[in-house]
């Protein structure tokens, strides 16, 4: 519990900045919608006629003229990338920062097993991810209400749950990585998120690359798919969580035996 609280306190500033930034961008995006709606027809035509670019962002499957279509395309990227980067940066630094900042001699010579330390740290990131996603969801509801549009609650919840699962999966993967590395965590964290994001774009454009959808969590966050199915893609989510679970398990197996320098 002490570790959990300590980690929350340590990461508070970065959490506030990331959350505020994502909330701001999402609100701006929602507030742009009334303007877009006015020019809906021409925009819809434009967005659906950009060839593979259209496919990459899933704009061939839904109508960006509706609020939820517009939201899932425009806001989805912000939500996905913002959340993924935040989760990756927090989680990938979690264990190795003690060695990087040379605080491991302090922390690990206290009477606490490494497993307890890891658990406290990991739970703090999970807690931050939930807090962030709840804050973001609330600002979106408020923004949509503010522009006077009806709130498409079911679709919004589905999309946001998908993105919550995405950030959790990425946090799990990065936590696993954190147990193995000593430095360079920020680059690795950003790299993992960016690669997973790009893999999804590729899988949308090129048919032979469709199998990539089972690897990247961004695949089960496609707003277009979620809206047309009216449900989440459970098999993909399951695979994602098996990958993340394996990474977390690897961390628990490795870190307690790691030589700390």
């Amino acid at each position: 519990m002490t570790i959990f609280k300590h980690e929350l306190r340590q990461g508070r500033k970065s959490f506030i900045i990331w959350t505020a930034a994502i909330m701001f961008l999402l609100a701006v995006c929602v507030f742009l919608y009334p303007e877009m709606k006015a020019e809906m027809d021409s925009i819809n035509e434009l967005f659906s006629s950009m060839g593979s670019f259209t496919a990459a962002f899933g704009m061939d499957k839904l109508n960006v003229g509706t609020l939820i279509g517009f939201y899932s395309v425009e806001c989805g990227s912000i939500l996905g990338l913002g959340g993924a980067f935040f989760a990756a940066l927090c989680a990938v630094d979690l264990l190795c920062k003690e060695e990087r900042m040379q605080t491991s001699e302090f922390l690990l010579t206290h009477p606490l097993s490494r497993v307890k330390i890891m658990t406290g740290k990991f739970l703090s990131v999970i807690c931050r991810i939930f807090e962030m996603n709840i804050a973001i969801f609330l600002i979106v509801l408020v923004s949509i209400a503010a522009i006077g549009e009806p709130i498409p609650l079911t679709e919004l919840i589905l999309i946001h749950v998908a993105y919550l699962l995405l950030t959790l999966e990425i946090a799990g993967i990065c936590f696993g990585v954190s147990a193995f590395i000593r430095r360079g965590s920020i680059g690795i964290g950003l790299g993992i998120s960016a690669i997973l994001y790009i893999l999804n774009l590729i899988s949308n454009i090129a048919e032979p690359a469709e199998f990539l959808r089972y690897i990247t969590p961004f695949a089960y966050c496609e707003g277009s798919q979620i809206i047309s199915d009216g449900s989440l893609d459970l098999p993909k989510i399951l695979i994602g969580f098996l990958i993340a679970g394996a990474c977390v398990a690897a961390a628990y197996l490795t870190y307690p035996k790691k030589n700390i320098h």
Binding site: T103, F106, H110, K257
Partner: protein, 306 residues
């Protein structure tokens, strides 16, 4: 009871040497010095004892508990002062002390306050604004505030000014009198000589001597100072010779009769024979390679304190 007991403890990092076959024991209530130059394996030994790194072979026990499998139990009763103390940036000194106490699930605020007062440590400063010496004080308080049964101190005085060093050793002496066992690593020999009951000398990862500080000082070698028209050439067992005009000073470990015989034929104006201090013993243990590589006057090795 053995507070610390290692048996053939070995830690190797790939090809690099860490420690080799280290066997030593530290008894309850003892003040044990662990001497060696930088890179000899002092910190490696300490890190193994604390469970930060894991032995390649051999075993180590503290309070009879295994350092690998019963680490938590051990650490409850150990206070550790690292040689280079770094803390979480942005935290105040008092937050660090509180955090450390919370991790130990104890309230040490009274002891902490008394220690901070004695060491003149301002608890309201942020740790990242502190000088090296002041950070060291924070580390001292975190190591001592829980009144541990065993203190493991890694080069404890680096960064502290002489007054603080004095105060620090006063505090450690009090803890020792109250029953704490002290294990201190250092390359500052007078520190060991003044305070420790026993000492171990480590060189290139191996324990090359381990005895009471007096016994370590009583090797066969004597420090001989001579002045006058003397020629000691050809005598075996002369080390660390230093010639200053008519005065010669050297460590002698050869046959004392041979020396007297040689001197009998010379015009000796003055002669003193003393037991060498630990500094010189240190040189003796570290042999000719250390002496030759650092010049003739390595007698000052480890003298930075005074």
């Amino acid at each position: 009871m053995h507070v610390i007991e290692t048996k053939n403890l070995t830690k190797s990092y790939g090809k690099a040497r860490g420690i080799v076959d280290l066997t030593l024991t530290v008894e309850q209530g003892e003040w044990f010095g662990f001497i060696g130059p930088n890179g000899a394996g002092k910190s490696t030994t300490i890190r193994t004892l604390l469970g930060l790194i894991f032995p390649t072979s051999g075993s180590a026990k503290i309070f009879g508990l295994d350092v690998v499998t019963q680490k938590e139990e051990i650490l409850k009763r150990v206070g550790y002062l690292p040689s280079e103390a770094l803390f979480y940036p942005g935290m105040k000194v008092k937050d660090i002390l509180k955090f450390s106490a919370d991790l130990r699930k104890t309230d040490c605020s009274k002891t902490a306050a008394a220690l901070c007062d004695r060491l003149k440590l301002d608890v309201n400063r942020k740790v990242d604004e502190l000088s090296f010496g002041n950070r060291k004080k924070v580390a001292i308080v975190t190591a001592l505030q829980s009144k541990p049964e065993l203190l493991i101190l890694d080069e404890p005085t680096s960064g502290l000014d002489p007054l603080m060093q004095h105060e620090f050793f006063e505090i450690i002496r009090e803890y020792n009198k109250e029953g704490s066992t002290v294990f201190v690593s250092s390359h500052i020999l007078p520190e060991i000589e003044r305070n420790c009951d026993r000492a171990g000398v480590i060189r290139e990862g191996r324990l090359i001597a381990c005895d009471s500080v007096e016994a370590l000082g009583q090797s066969n070698a004597k420090r001989i100072s001579l002045s006058g028209d003397v020629n000691v050439d050809g005598l075996a067992g002369i080390k660390d010779i230093c010639v200053n005009g008519e005065t010669k000073s050297f460590l002698y470990s050869g046959d004392i009769n041979a020396l007297i015989g040689k001197l009998a034929g010379c015009n000796v104006k003055d002669l003193t024979i003393t037991d060498p201090d630990l500094d010189e013993i240190f040189l003796h243990f570290y042999g000719n390679d250390a002496k030759e590589s650092t010049g003739p006057n390595t007698g000052s090795y480890g003298r930075e304190e005074n």
